[in-house]
């Protein structure tokens, strides 16, 4: 097992009397492919929000590459390489797909404070942006306004933007949400193409997608980690089965 990139110890969060995250310990190794599953209300999105700093934790430690980050603002965590995508699209709908990515590239390359002299820098950002669109398989959509793109391509664009930030760890919050089942394979193919050195945690309701993608699955129930194991053993775990009300998870 290689060294852990993201380490979480004893993470807790309460909303009033409701404990939405209870003593979560989590290790994400370099290049990991982790699936995070759990029934509705298990606190999956809350956990992502705590990791990325959208919410502040009540207790616990989060370390990225050995440095504590639990008190950093969301944007500082992003700059250190902890990047997420959102369950609901948060794209700049009035701009082209390519500009959406280029703005992120400009931010990463620290060009975003340039006001008057920026021609070559911005062109470099746009060119680099196109490479991420190609990588994720939507190169053809680069010049189109995001509001005119099909929903599936908008979801892929979210991933392309996250990728353009050169993350160490990517948290993908339901990338397949709202996509018709006929297009689900596009998401899967895009995920397969993500660089192998990037650690990825996938939060997803589509069990098919999770079990095909993840090498390791974390089951979250009532804000606590129930178990963590390889997909083959998770699918036969009686506790996991009972959590999902006896339904088969694969």
């Amino acid at each position: 097992m290689s060294a852990s990139v993201l380490t979480v110890r004893g993470l807790c969060k309460n909303f009033g009397a409701l404990a939405v995250t209870q003593n979560v310990d989590l290790d994400i190794a370099a290049g990991a492919r982790i699936g995070l599953i759990g029934p509705n209300g298990a606190g999956k999105t809350t956990l992502v929000n705590l990791l990325t700093g959208m919410l502040t934790s009540d207790r616990g430690e989060i370390a990225l590459d050995g440095a504590r980050i639990e008190r950093l603002s969301p944007e500082h965590r992003v700059r250190r390489g902890l990047v997420r995508t959102h369950q609901i699209n948060t794209l700049l709908m009035e701009l082209t797909a390519r500009d959406n990515v280029a703005i992120a590239v400009a931010e990463r390359r620290k060009f975003a404070w340039r006001l008057l002299r920026y021609g070559p820098q911005w062109r470099a950002c746009v060119e680099e942006a196109q490479t991420y669109l190609e990588e994720i398989g939507i190169a053809h959509a680069g010049g189109r306004r995001v509001s005119l793109l099909p929903y599936g391509e908008q979801r892929l664009l979210e991933i392309a933007i996250a990728l353009s930030l050169k993350p160490r760890v990517m948290l993908l919050d339901e990338p397949g949400a709202g996509i018709p089942s006929t297009e689900a394979h596009l998401i899967h193919e895009a995920l397969e193409r993500l660089p192998s050195e990037v650690s990825i945690m996938l939060i997803e309701h589509d069990m098919d997608l999770v079990f095909r993608f993840a090498k390791d699955i974390v089951v979250l129930v009532l804000g606590a980690v129930l178990t963590r194991d390889v997909p083959a053993r998770i699918s036969v775990d009686p506790r996991v089965r009972s959590v999902y009300l006896g339904r088969s998870v694969v």
């Binding site: 969301p74 995508t85 700049l92 701009l95 006001l115 005119l148």
Partner: protein, 331 residues
């Protein structure tokens, strides 16, 4: 409507000819507009003020009803600088702009973590505070008597300000041109694009690591500096500053000009301010109440039926023309 017409102006590159048009018109006016140069100066000053609001409200989405604070601060700063320090107009202009920008930076840091109604009220409150301060500091501002005795020296030590406003006209036009070029560059810069992103979806921008608050503060300060420059030009050319510069009405008028002309189009400020001042002047000469009515009706029609203001209408017509040309060539 077509994709092109709805796109912000930054997406459709206009031809150089199109760019030359407003400046050629302004220069042409300089040669034939005898007797109306003062009116022209008024228009140019308001264009600059509206342009500054477009940066903050249009591009960065900073909801404000307090831009009069910076205009007024610039006006008083330039006036007082002229009376007490030095009568060089450019020095006064620089001083006033920097002071307004610094004030924008400071107040921006205090209020730009809020948005919506809270922000609206805070911007309004800040301009009201300045109004009261100017009203009570009679020893400095002369209160409601207004600050007079502003006598700017010759421009660059060479060109005296004449009674008819010819020097003023070229002076203000030159400053407007510089500010316009800066604005044009800034809204297309990575910086400007990130602010456009913040306006559209600040959550997205946080997710890519943008320091949203600092970005907004920087744009607000830039916009404040430009509004301050407009105020300074107004003081130097009118040679008088009244308390009304700080009034809510001043902030309201500039917002109306921007919406009339069209937000996020830069040239929208040119059209909106020109139409407003002309209607005020022409209709106001016929009947002092009539012009408000004309502006009101115009505003309602524009807001209800034309996305992107008058400039939006022009953009749409241009897009149509381009398509017609393209289909004509295809045949």
């Amino acid at each position: 409507m077509s994709e092109i017409a709805r796109a912000p102006a930054s997406l459709s590159p206009p031809s150089p000819l199109w760019h030359a048009l407003p400046w050629a018109l302004a220069l042409g006016f300089f040669f034939v507009g005898d007797g109306y140069h003062s009116l022209g100066v008024n228009i140019l000053v308001m264009i600059l003020f509206t342009l500054s609001l477009d940066l903050a409200l249009g591009y960065a989405g900073i909801i404000t009803l307090g831009h009069a604070a910076f205009f007024g601060l610039g006006a008083y700063a330039a006036g007082l600088f002229n009376i007490h320090v030095d009568n060089d107009p450019l020095l006064g202009l620089a001083f006033a702009s920097l002071l307004a920008a610094a004030f924008g930076l400071l107040t921006g840091m205090l209020i730009l973590h809020t948005k919506g109604e809270t922000l609206l009220m805070l911007t309004l409150a800040i301009s009201e505070i300045l109004y009261e301060a100017a009203n009570h500091m009679r020893w400095l501002t002369r209160g409601d008597d207004g600050l007079d005795g502003i006598r700017p020296g010759p421009l660059l030590g060479l060109f005296r300000f004449d009674l008819w406003g010819k020097t003023s006209f070229l002076y203000v036009l030159a400053v407007l041109f510089v500010c316009f070029v800066i604005s044009w560059r800034v809204v297309r810069s990575p910086f400007g694009r990130s602010l456009d992103g913040i306006r559209q979806n600040s959550r997205r921008m946080r997710a890519i690591g943008t320091p949203v608050w600092w970005r907004l503060v920087a744009m607000y300060a830039l916009s404040a500096g430009m509004a301050g420059a407009a105020g300074a030009l107004s003081a130097q050319t009118a040679r008088l500053v009244g308390l009304s510069v700080f009034q809510l009405l001043t902030s309201g008028i500039v917002a109306v000009m921007l919406v009339l002309g069209g937000e996020r189009r830069l040239y929208g400020a040119f059209i909106g301010a020109t139409i407003y001042v002309l209607v005020q002047d022409i209709a106001g000469a016929i009947n002092p109440f009539y012009w408000m009515f004309v502006i009101g009706v115009l505003l309602i029609v524009i807001v209800l039926f034309f996305e992107g203001g008058l400039m939006g209408v022009i953009d749409a017509a241009r897009a149509k023309l381009v398509r017609k040309k393209a289909s004509g060539e295809a045949k």
